[in-house]
């Protein structure tokens, strides 16, 4: 006699069946909507030769019914239909580079500002604007999924830093996910050549490599071992190579085949066959933003834009909300710099200058959050300056600064802290939640 299934087991079995049926229905629904779209187009041509198609919003709503987030991916394909899509991904600099590239392209461009770089943010950006061009930033862990549904004309990959590792137990996890990048033949790739992880992942594809050849690349390159074979990379200045075939693209392809940003970040040398050189002079300050601007400049040129107006456009973007912006707080100007992970923090160090007061704000919401990564930042460079701390995680900052030998003052909230800070240009390095707090408290 067959054993009777327990209630729990029967529930799980039923649930699994319903889920499977749901999946089939979803696929059917999307196929039906796409067929409807094609049918309308064909009928319109048959009747009068007019290129009529159903509005994207209507198609997405028909397909999704505004239901669960797992319906999002296919709706992305519908929402992006007929547009030129540019994707920007990587661990650090996505938002800034997306903003710069959007500004560089000029005109009306659909874009997802801020951290809305998952399906919902992408879909929202595509639905909010009917612009023929979309520049979208994509979370690096979700890029393989997004590429299943979007076929970008240009994919800009900035880096794959250690901070991506922090979100996974094993860097190999990210590398494995990226190995399955579904890139169509029509997608141009612009990527950072100084990152061994990227070079390892993309070495078999036609890539427009951008390199800066900095000898002092602290905080910018992370992998010291070869991601392909695990051997220790041989490094000499900016150059790196491995006993296996992996090496810096400049040495594999020759310097003429790469986009070269000068070590000081002021000049971009395109590959041979393009213009001799282009000045990089963005409105945003800092060495890292010169690199982001170089990506925007190269990206715009790859999309056929003339560099002169692009250069001018890049100069007009001098602030970026929640990242590099001056807010008026308690009657005083405070320049907010986002420092949400070690690489972003270290990139900010050259913008902090050498004197003047500095506020540090750590406002993550979970009290038992691991902020070990703070100790990867050479904060001792702030010794001798007035440092003020606040935020929900001010205690973590206090312990970190104490061990680093940096004196500090503390206050309950940013407005109170501003009142205690010495005169002069006031800089504030904050995590993302802290940046939102500053924005909310601004006069």
């Amino acid at each position: 006699m067959p054993r009777r299934l327990s209630v729990r087991r029967r529930f799980k079995t039923l649930s699994a069946r319903l889920h499977a049926i749901g999946n089939v229905l979803t696929v059917c629904r999307f196929q039906a909507v796409l067929a409807l779209d094609r049918g309308v187009k064909t009928l319109a041509f048959a009747l009068g030769g007019v290129g009529i198609r159903l509005p994207r919003r209507l198609l997405v709503r028909l397909a999704c019914h505004g239901l669960a987030a797992w319906l999002m991916p296919a709706s992305l394909a519908l929402a992006a239909r007929g547009r030129t899509v540019v994707l920007v991904s990587g661990t650090n600099g996505k938002t800034t580079t997306t903003a710069l590239l959007t500004r560089a392209l000029g005109g009306t461009v659909a874009t997802n500002a801020g951290n809305h770089n998952f399906y919902c943010g992408l879909l929202d950006a595509l639905l909010r604007s009917n612009a023929p061009m979309a520049v979208l930033e994509v979370d690096e862990l979700w890029l393989p999924e997004v590429l299943r549904w979007l076929v970008p004309e240009l994919l800009v990959i900035l880096n794959l830093h250690e901070d991506a590792w922090l979100r996974t137990p094993d860097p190999q996890y990210v590398l494995d996910r990226w190995k399955t990048l579904n890139l169509g033949a029509g997608t141009a790739l612009l990527a950072w050549a100084d990152d061994p992880a990227l070079v390892s992942l993309l070495s078999n594809r036609p890539v427009q490599w951008l390199t800066q050849q900095e000898n002092d690349a602290k905080g910018q390159t992370t992998l010291q071992a070869c991601p392909a074979c695990g051997e220790i990379l041989r490094r000499s200045g900016w150059h790196w190579s491995c006993r296996c075939d992996l090496r810096h693209p400049v040495h594999r392809l020759g310097p003429q085949a790469t986009w070269q940003l000068s070590p000081c970040g002021t000049t971009l040398h395109p590959p041979t066959g393009r213009r001799p050189e282009v000045a990089v002079n963005p409105g945003l300050s800092g060495r890292i933003n010169r690199r982001n601007a170089a990506f925007a400049l190269a990206g715009a040129m790859l999309l056929g834009r003339d560099p002169e107006p692009v250069q001018h456009q890049l100069q007009t973007l001098a602030q970026l909300p929640l990242r590099d912006q001056v807010y008026r707080l308690a009657g005083r100007d405070v320049r907010l710099l986002l420092g949400k992970n070690p690489s972003a923090w270290i990139a900010n160090l050259d913008r902090l200058g050498t004197g003047g007061p500095v506020m540090l704000l750590q406002q993550q919401s979970t009290a038992t959050l691991d902020l070990s990564w703070l100790y990867d930042i050479p904060v001792e460079t702030l010794a001798g300056r007035q440092v003020g701390i606040c935020g929900a995680h001010a205690l973590d900052l206090a312990v970190w600064l104490t061990y680093a030998g940096v004196d500090f003052i503390a206050a309950a909230d940013p407005r109170a802290l501003v009142g205690q800070m010495a005169p002069g240009e006031l800089l504030c390095v904050s995590d993302l939640l802290g940046a939102y707090l500053i924005e909310a408290l601004a006069d």
Partner: protein, 252 residues
């Protein structure tokens, strides 16, 4: 704020070797070396951190050796470099203090398997084998110390490895909260003689000053406590943020 400085009870210097920080130095683990050095300096003891990179000789004469955590890419190459160098093994044999954290701890064991199937030998200072776990272990950890310290051991874990301790090996803490080594015993870390290993982040020595002082006392002899208000309050907040039953039990 800085603690009240105690008068130095001994005029001495302590040498600390940070082994391969370029390869084993992510996730803030480098902070542990900073904590040890600073707690020495506050007591009037000079402490120099000597960073050794692959290809350089690991000196055998130092007092404390520290291997931090890193990512799994390159761990095998680091293990091979440690095998070729005998400085760390010689120092441990004469009683030098060794601390390994994360993959640094795993490298101190007998054998280490990586998630992609690579298995290789560690340097055998601890009776420990490390294997990939099915699930990622992530979150805060509280442990009742099995080390000669009184305060609960606090930290964070984020790894996907199971650490199997040998029959004679001792853990550094009995877990109140968290997955720790991932074994059925419900323990965290391992120690034997003057060699200590843990997977805890925090950095673990910043969150657990008594653990840091235990390592220093093995070199310097008994030390006076070093009151640090910010650390005490951070530990209190850590415990109070967890479910009351766990936090209050740990406080006791």
């Amino acid at each position: 704020m800085k603690p009240n400085l105690q008068p130095a009870t001994r005029a001495s210097a302590l040498s600390l070797v940070h082994v391969y920080p370029q390869f084993l130095g992510s996730y803030g683990h480098g902070g542990n070396a900073l904590v040890l050095a600073q707690r020495c300096r506050w007591r009037g003891v000079t402490c120099d951190i000597h960073e050794v990179t692959i290809g350089e000789v690991i000196p055998a004469e130092a007092d404390i050796y520290y291997l931090a955590g890193g990512d799994t890419v390159g761990v095998k190459a680091v293990a091979q470099a440690l095998q070729q160098q005998q400085g760390l093994q010689q120092a441990a044999a004469r009683g030098a203090v060794v601390l390994g954290v994360g993959s640094g701890c795993q490298l101190l064991g007998e054998r280490l398997s990586l998630p992609r199937g690579d298995t290789f030998a560690g340097i055998g200072l601890l009776d420990l084998t490390s294997e990939p776990a099915v699930r990622r272990r992530f979150g805060p950890v509280i442990g009742e110390p099995l080390l000669p310290i009184e305060a609960p051991l606090l930290g964070f874990e984020d790894h996907q490895m199971t650490l199997q301790l040998g029959a004679e090996a001792t853990a550094i803490a009995k877990l109140r909260h968290g997955a720790g080594n991932g074994s059925a015993q419900g323990t965290e870390g391992i120690w034997g003689s003057n060699v200590f290993g843990t997977s805890l982040r925090g950095p673990v020595l910043a969150l657990n000053p008594s653990f840091a002082d235990l390592l220093l006392e093995r070199v310097l002899g008994p030390l006076d406590p070093l009151p640090l208000l910010a650390v005490d309050r951070l530990r209190e907040r850590f415990l109070s943020a967890l479910p009351r039953s766990i936090g209050s039990r740990a406080k006791r």
